[in-house]
């Protein structure tokens, strides 16, 4: 199986000053294991589910550094319904925030999950437990799925849905773009960040994002502790957003080919994303991809938007500029963006549409979007509802994100700034939501508590 290109090596390790052994590992760094599966479970028998939990604990990977990559790793998270089922006491349940308690389905209108993306079209119900399984290869993945997590009702759990995912050749997404470049640099995490991962400081520098933006129990960008549920869920845990997003690769290819953009389809596609297919940022190289730049970990993410107020290089409405406006004018030198960062751990699923094909082959493919944050509403939901699915914040009226936004009637125009600007109207639906959930990924301490192993 081909994985991510070696030209962009994983971020190095550096001494951490938080308790890595208490934190589930996928939060602070991606495992870079090529095969993955997301198991969505519903608990039918609490005692048996607890036994299953206890049995799987040794496989749960923490954030401690590895001498050698394990052959397989799992991580565990729970929905509010899952916590209810497991019998958390009412006070503790009530201490979780409204977005989490309501769940993703209830937030559909706000999130733009309407029409074909609406919850009544989703492929699976809300899981109680999400088991994320990662493995070095497909065989190890099946082995792990089969051995520890025999997800049958005998174990007191019912398997709702298995979603497999894998790295596509060259680390690209199904639209053909190198993904997984930019991540927030998290203070104290022991991951050596790349320039651009953090928050603008001064004209050229960067600083790390406060730990509390991603993990509960540490000060956040406001220098206070983020609101947290009762112990033991108040420390080293994080909220998880899971969304299965199907993509229509053929529609994307036809859309950029037929738009009549004077710069050509490749440039239009780059203007939509904000990067060239190889990851070169438009902010640094607006005229074409630059292999040297895209292979240089110190440069591939080292840019801002302060010097491009009109979006002449990277359009105001492009996917990456909406999703992280960095130091764009009116984002207070980056201080505003700093409160709306998410750790992305999504993975592609389904086989790529062969190059050049312009008709949909009916295959299911897309992105299992996963993000981690300490506040669902302030971070993921704000990005999704106000930046991706609305253009107002960027002076773009109602127009939504040209790559992943909901194509509401009257909101499907894309403006490519320039002299003159170019307008592309009638963008088709490129992404359809197929199901998802809000979950909580507890600390190891809290996991042991849930497994009744803490005495």
């Amino acid at each position: 199986m081909e994985g991510r290109p070696t030209r962009l090596p994983p971020r190095d390790a550096t001494p951490a000053d938080i308790d890595l052994s208490d934190i589930q590992g996928n939060v602070l760094r991606g495992y870079t294991m090529p095969a993955a599966a997301y198991l969505m479970l519903r608990i039918s028998d609490v005692a048996q589910a607890t036994t299953l939990l206890r049995r799987s604990l040794p496989l749960v990977c923490t954030a401690e550094t590895w001498d050698r990559q394990p052959a397989a790793a799992i991580n565990l998270s729970f929905s509010y319904a899952g916590f209810q089922r497991l019998g958390l006491d009412p006070d503790t349940l009530a201490s979780f925030p409204p977005a989490f308690r309501e769940g993703m389905r209830a937030r559909a209108t706000l999130l733009g999950d309407v029409g074909p993306s609406a919850p009544d079209q989703w492929e699976f119900d809300e899981p109680h437990v999400l088991v994320s399984v990662y493995a070095a290869d497909a065989e190890r993945l099946e082995e792990t799925l089969g051995s520890v997590l025999v997800p049958d009702t005998q174990d007191g759990v019912e398997l709702l849905h298995v979603q497999r995912a894998h790295d596509l050749p060259g680390g690209k997404d199904h639209f053909g773009f190198f993904d997984g470049v930019s991540q927030p640099a998290i203070q104290g995490s022991g991951v050596l960040s790349r320039p651009g991962d953090g928050i603008r400081q001064g004209e050229h520098g960067w600083r790390e994002v406060a730990t509390g933006e991603v993990l509960l129990g540490y000060p956040d960008e406001d220098r206070t502790l983020p609101k947290a549920p009762h112990a033991p869920y108040d420390r080293n845990g994080t909220y998880v957003v899971l969304r299965k997003l199907a993509v229509d690769t053929a529609a994307f290819r036809r859309f950029v080919a037929d738009a009549g953009y004077p710069g050509g389809p490749e440039m239009l596609a780059a203007k939509i994303v904000g990067r060239w297919p190889d990851g070169t940022p438009l902010a640094l190289a607006p005229d074409g991809p630059d292999e040297a730049l895209a292979s240089d970990p110190a440069r591939i993410n080292d840019f801002g938007y302060a010097d491009d107020p009109q979006g002449l290089r990277c359009p105001l409405g492009s996917h990456i500029r909406r999703a992280n406006p960095r130091d764009a004018p009116s984002f207070f030198g980056g201080r505003l963006s700093a409160r709306h960062r998410i750790v992305r751990r999504g993975r592609a699923y389904g086989d790529p549409l062969p190059p050049g094909v312009l008709d949909d082959d009916g295959a299911d493919r897309g992105l299992v979007f996963v993000s981690f944050q300490s506040n669902l509403w302030r971070q993921f939901e704000t990005i999704q509802a106000q930046w991706i699915n609305d253009g107002d914040r960027f002076g773009l009226g109602r127009d939504t994100d040209p790559l992943v936004g909901e194509p509401y009637p009257g909101a499907t125009k894309l403006t490519v700034p320039g002299t003159p600007p170019y307008f592309v109207t009638s963008r088709p639906r490129l992404v359809t939501m197929r199901g998802g959930a809000y979950l909580f990924q507890p600390s190891m301490t809290a996991l042991r508590h849930l497994a009744r192993l803490d005495g």
Binding site: D222, G397, P420, T425
Partner: protein, 176 residues
Amino acid sequence: MSNENGTAYALTTYARVETGHEDALDAYLAALPTGADSPFARLDGVHLARVQVFRKLVHQGPHQRPDPLRHAHLVVSTTFNGGLDEHLEALAEHVPECDEWWGHCVRYPGRGDRAAFVAYVRSIQRRTSLFSTPFPTATVDDVRQSIALRAQVIDFAAATQHLSADDLHRRFLETF
């Protein structure tokens, strides 16, 4: 700062909610229609209106003293162009919903006696201490017209981007 900014006026009112009425009031407000069906859409000059219950003041971080409220308060704030008296008259005339929300508050006299209604709202008015508006001089009508014009210009630009300079000129004169 004051209640006025250019030709715009910001009315801010705090009314003490009758004890025990908080949930009913919240439920009533949550069910109120917004957008074109909002009660305030019946008034010509309203830029923005907000009706909400404050049960406690949000703690904004370490530099702020936590500020618990002894009673819940109904906060009604509106931004409009024109004078306060006309606005209060229009509220009494066209927004019977006032009786519902302020009906849960102490000493509300109803809309029947106009003078009493106006005196009541004035009695619960607070000075607006931070009033910034993107449209200090434009009336609501001006803003509506500008939005329509903007949409028209954008549609025009999108529809004509492939035309030659001459054709573009002709089409411009035809359209505007």
